[in-house]
């Protein structure tokens, strides 16, 4: 399987590679060069172009996108209803971009009939990816705690505090950030149940999308090789 990961930094990408492999249960190849976005809302703006590029110019089976929720609405079960779209939820918004963009793309040469469309995997790190890194190590850091904080107007922690808890500084160097990211997600040793339990909406949505790929991955490979 070949996929693309759209992330904000090489450290985020490295952690996502580990987690995606855990969920898919098999190694995968990635498109080169690696995709980068400059955070929200740049991700949303650049996503249609990225999907178009992946569709026509690469053999990517799917695209993984994970964004930080910051202080926005966290994706919820009612959002999953057919035809529902929450304008302030970043998962709903990114899914809408996938839908809109892929709907209008004509078939690409070299893509198999069974898998004409680039597959979607969208996740939401609540409030930032460092929360996922702390999963299982800092029991106070969960989606439930964050959402309760949003409701009461008193957040249990800030993005800066999460950084501090993961890196011991608010300003980690990139190699250190990368090392810590991989170290923390590797603690799960292939089992993402704790992450799905503590981050059911943001990580759960990502895992659900990725699992839906497994059947797609079983389809025959594209007839003509692409980059």
């Amino acid at each position: 399987m070949k996929l693309a990961i759209l992330s904000e930094s090489p450290a985020d990408e490295a952690a996502l590679r580990v987690l995606v492999e855990y969920v898919l249960g098999a190694p995968f190849a990635t498109v080169q060069p690696a995709l980068r976005a400059r955070g929200w809302p740049s991700v949303e703006q650049v996503l249609p172009a990225i999907l178009r590029h992946l569709h026509f110019n690469t053999a990517a089976d799917g695209l993984v996108v994970v964004v930080d929720s910051d202080d926005t609405v966290v994706h919820d079960d009612p959002h999953e209803a057919v035809g529902y779209y929450h304008p302030l939820c970043r998962i709903c918004r990114l899914r809408a971009v996938f839908r809109r963009t892929l709907k209008n793309l004509p078939p690409a040469h070299g893509r198999s009939a069974g898998q004409q469309k680039v597959l979607r995997a969208v996740g939401l790190a609540v409030p930032a990816i460092e929360a996922w890194y702390l999963c299982g190590r800092d029991t106070a850091v969960t989606e439930t705690a964050w959402i309760a904080g949003q409701a009461s107007g008193r957040q249990p922690y800030s993005r800066r505090e999460l950084k501090w808890r993961v890196y011991g500084t608010e300003r980690p160097s990139l190699p250190f950030e990368l090392r810590r990211a991989v170290q923390e997600v590797s603690r799960h040793q292939g089992d993402v149940r704790r992450l799905e339990n503590d981050f059911p909406r943001g990580f759960g949505a990502l895992a659900q999308d990725l699992r839906s790929w497994r059947s797609a991955a079983a389809s025959p490979p594209a007839p003509a090789p692409l980059a």
Partner: protein
């Protein structure tokens, strides 16, 4: 080091003030005072090298002339330094120091003065960096880094551990190279060469290296200086560097300002004042708006504002990236059209 500067009639800074932190990224249009801020610090360094006057000894300065007042962080919080002008040519030529009375005050000023004399400002130039340099010019990086070869050669000799760390970082940032070396030129100078990781370690002369490689190398040279200045000013910090590599530029400069964050708590922090026109570099300070200084220009007058003083910043950042917000003009710090 310097906690704040007040400006009066100093170039476009007619009546302005700026608070400074350990790391400061100054953004704004041309002529908004970014360079004037750096020139003010260089003036402070120059005048600190001359015998200082004390408040009571001085004739009253030219009231219409420029005046700069510097305030400092502990342990120098009780000292103030004023640069003024007692002539009609409107150039600061006078340093007046206010320090606590007695020997202790004198000692404090001596300590501060020694630090001020180390202030350095840089605007790197890749043409100059690529040239060979005289070996004896390697004591201190020149403002355009034109003596890069000599500085690195001297560092390898005198501070091999610091050089090794720098070289390791260089290999990480530019993985096509395995290391740095030096060779004499026929004219008796020293030339910087980089050893390629492939092709059997081929030696590439500095003038064959990419601009970006040279700029990164100059920034690493600053960041890994074993005897760093108290204050480093770096103009156009993003110069020649790919937007994806700007995180490394930021981190290298953070290394100077926040030594404790890279496990070097024993090293004295270096105050960094960097300027940029890159929205991509600015994006990297999204979590630290207190580190961003907006330089604004209204008519002929310039002023400074801290990004963290912007009350609605958190809400704005939900709608757009910091770089885009700046470009749009709603933060200020853009040219008048």
């Amino acid at each position: 080091m310097i906690s704040a500067v007040q400006f009066r009639n100093f170039k476009a800074l007619r009546s302005a003030a700026v608070k400074l932190g350990p790391f400061n990224l100054v953004i704004g249009p041309n002529g908004s005072g970014k360079t004037s801020l750096i020139q003010a610090l260089l003036r402070l360094r120059s005048l600190a090298g001359l015998p200082a006057a004390h408040r009571h000894e001085e004739p009253p300065p030219n009231a219409a002339g420029p005046e700069l007042v510097f305030h400092f962080n502990p342990p120098y919080q009780n000292l103030h330094v004023t640069l003024a002008c007692d002539t009609n040519d409107f150039v600061c030529n006078l340093l007046v120091v206010d320090h606590p009375p007695g020997l202790d005050g004198e000692r404090q000023w001596a300590g501060l003065r020694a630090r001020l004399l180390t202030i350095r400002a840089f605007l790197f130039d890749h043409y100059a960096m690529a040239l060979p340099a005289r070996r004896e010019d390697g004591a201190q990086l020149a403002s355009n880094a034109g003596n890069l070869a000599a500085v690195l050669a001297a560092r390898r000799e005198k501070f091999p551990a610091a050089f090794a760390l720098l070289e390791e970082e260089f290999r990480r940032l530019v993985p096509e190279f395995a290391g740095l070396d030096f060779r004499p030129t026929p004219s008796g100078q020293i030339e910087l060469v980089a050893r390629t990781a492939a092709n059997g370690g081929e030696l590439l002369a500095a003038d064959s290296l990419s601009q970006g490689t040279l700029y990164l190398l100059a920034i690493l040279t600053l960041a890994h200086d074993p005897e760093p200045p108290a204050i480093v000013c770096l103009e156009e910090a993003d110069r020649g560097v790919h937007p994806r590599m700007l995180r490394e530029v930021r981190d290298a400069l953070y290394r100077l300002s926040y030594p404790q964050d890279c496990g070097e708590a024993a090293r004295a922090p270096v105050q960094v004042i960097a300027t940029t026109h890159s929205p991509y570099l600015l994006d990297l300070l999204r979590e630290h708006p207190e580190e961003v200084v907006l330089a604004n220009k209204q008519g002929n007058a310039a002023s400074f504002e801290r990004l963290s003083d912007r009350a609605d910043l958190v809400e704005l950042l939900c709608e757009a990236s910091l770089g885009d917000l700046w470009y749009s003009g709603i933060l200020g710090g853009v040219p008048g059209e």
